[in-house]
């Protein structure tokens, strides 16, 4: 197996996804047997050389950010959007669907993105699994299930039944229902599941006497513009 040359880059973000990577601790040492980190500002490495995989955190907030991203795209074989900021411009966490007039572009609006690591912050297991897949030249499997379908396996009392707004039924799974498992509502940070049915979800909320937040209607509108029927 050839050693993989990777870079970790931050655009405008909290750098929590990079901290998730550093928090892998001995697992990080383990993957460094096969992987060279050749660029990472917080670790103090900067080489102006091509890389195999660029993991990019953060959204594009300015012209400089855009230039930086284009430079990264030019020198990498594979580009991975890391975290909700990079994947969606942070809109699923911030619930800001273009209303605040602040520039927050997802990476895909500027360059081609090969893989997405969803969530705020990214999930450590998903990061490791993606690195393993790339090392073996395999295409990672995409997740279509929802947070709700992962939560059900824990047989906990449904938060919606308690009148608490939980976005689990429409949110992309893969986090093993972290928030509901810890007794609190899903905040939707992993974005809409491909199969999300927002209309039906709004119906369920009304049935459970939970008032649907304004952003759900905005999400539905955006989804319709993207050509999805529900």
């Amino acid at each position: 197996m050839e050693r993989l040359r990777i870079g970790l880059y931050c655009l405008s973000s909290c750098e929590g996804c990079v901290v998730q990577v550093l928090n892998l601790e001995e697992k990080l040492l383990e993957i460094m047997k096969y992987v060279d980190i050749v660029e990472c500002r917080v670790l103090g490495v900067r080489r102006e050389e091509p890389v195999d995989v660029a993991f990019v955190e953060g959204f594009v907030a300015s012209r400089e950010g855009e230039k930086k991203l284009v430079r990264i795209r030019k020198k990498t074989r594979i580009l991975v959007a890391m975290g909700d900021c990079a994947c969606s411009g942070g809109r699923f966490l911030m619930k800001d669907f273009g209303d605040s007039e602040i520039r927050a572009d997802p990476l895909s609006r500027i360059v081609k993105v090969d893989y997405y690591l969803w969530g705020c912050p990214i999930d450590q297991k998903e990061f490791l699994s993606l690195v393993r897949n790339i090392l073996h030249d395999r295409k990672p499997r995409e997740i279509s299930r929802t947070v709700c379908s992962e939560c059900i396996l824990y047989e906990r009392e449904c938060l919606l039944d308690r009148g608490i707004l939980c976005l689990g039924p429409i949110t992309r799974g893969g986090c093993d229902a972290l928030c509901p498992r810890n007794g609190r509502n899903c905040f939707g940070c992993r974005g809409l599941s491909d199969d999300a049915n927002i209309d039906a979800f709004i119906g369920i909320l009304q049935e459970k006497r939970v008032s649907p937040p304004q952003y759900l209607f905005r999400m539905r509108e955006l989804r319709r513009n993207e050509g999805k029927t529900h």
């Binding site: 405008s12 909290c14 929590g16 998730q20 040492l29 966490l93 800001d96 602040i102 609190r184």
Partner: protein, 427 residues
Amino acid sequence: MRGKLIEVKEIMRIEGHLDLEIVVDDHRVKVRAAAKEGTRILGKILVGRDYWEVPEIASRMCGVCSVIHKVTAVMAIENALGIELSEDIQLLRELIVIGGHIQSHLLHLFYFVIPDYLGAESIIDNIKRNDLAMIRDVISVKKWANDIVERFGGRAVHPVSPVVGGLSKLPSQADLIRILEKTVEVKKTATELTRKILEFDYSDFPAEKNFVSLKRNGGIPLLVGSVCICGEEADPRAYPNYIKYIKEEYSTALHFLLKNDEPFMVGALARLNNNYPALEGLAKDLCSEYNIRFPNYSVFANNQAQALEILYFIEKAEEILEKLARKKNIESSPRTTRRRGIGIAVTEAPRGLLVHEYSVNDHGKVISANIITPTAQNLKSIERRAEGLVGVLLDEGASFMELQKNVEKLVRSYDPCISCAARFRKY
């Protein structure tokens, strides 16, 4: 070199994007610490939200110190709504915050700072040489600290269980004991790591004279205390009146000064300078052994203060774990008195004093938000002290490389977090 503009782009081994500009003319040195973080104006996004959503978004100020942002936001909202918590919940929150602080201090000292003192470029050099002894020690303590946040907060980065009114999940006795069992080993390893940091030679120049932190009798305060501003104690709720902010054209962060226009320093060194008599246990023993005393005015001593705090906080965590593990039931029911109000929480983040301030209306919506971060308060001190250092180095005939290296080292010793500093405007 006189008259020349030195520009250091994106200083490495710090949290966030900071450029440094140094202009030298015949009479003086001018340093600008320019935050180059694209601003996502969190303040604007927070206004109009349901109060319970605020901590979710506010914790995204920073991924290194997300724990304290989350807890401080929760505390400020609780203060606005008149929510009072049981002592057990307050202890658990302090425990989670301690986990976050130890993680942050270790990251700063052993990933960011230590290459400066070992003459290396990056900690990755050690890994490449397969020189892993120190890294394995750091990992074992860091894992224990992150484990605290993960077990009691749900996740190490952006924890999920601190919510307005308490914690969404309470720990089991088994969880508490599992962490407690490891403390003996962790203390031993952390003592060795702290020694490493204390043994380096730190320059006693430049010095800061104004230090601001929380102050409390009987311990280094994290979540509760009065504010100690250059030796004078004040009500934390009044703290924003003691400082003023200035907008600098070159920076995307807010910069702060004391009302008398002087810069000041917040952080581990400020905490120890203001609370040294309360330092106890292993950290205190090491101070006597290495003949270290506080107050210490050298900016570089912030590294020593962080190392000592790691030990102090481990023992504090042990104390809390023991106390909670003895209980049969953790008391959690909060008491609420009202639906609306103005709330403020002043806490100690790893990098220093942190303020979250919100007002909530009758419908539970946030109508104003204000966050004052530690690094925003430190930026002016960074600039002034860097100017002093550059002046002295130039007189000594330092080369450009030496100048850059030393100024970066100085900036790093403040442990700046530019993500925090640049992501807020008041709304």
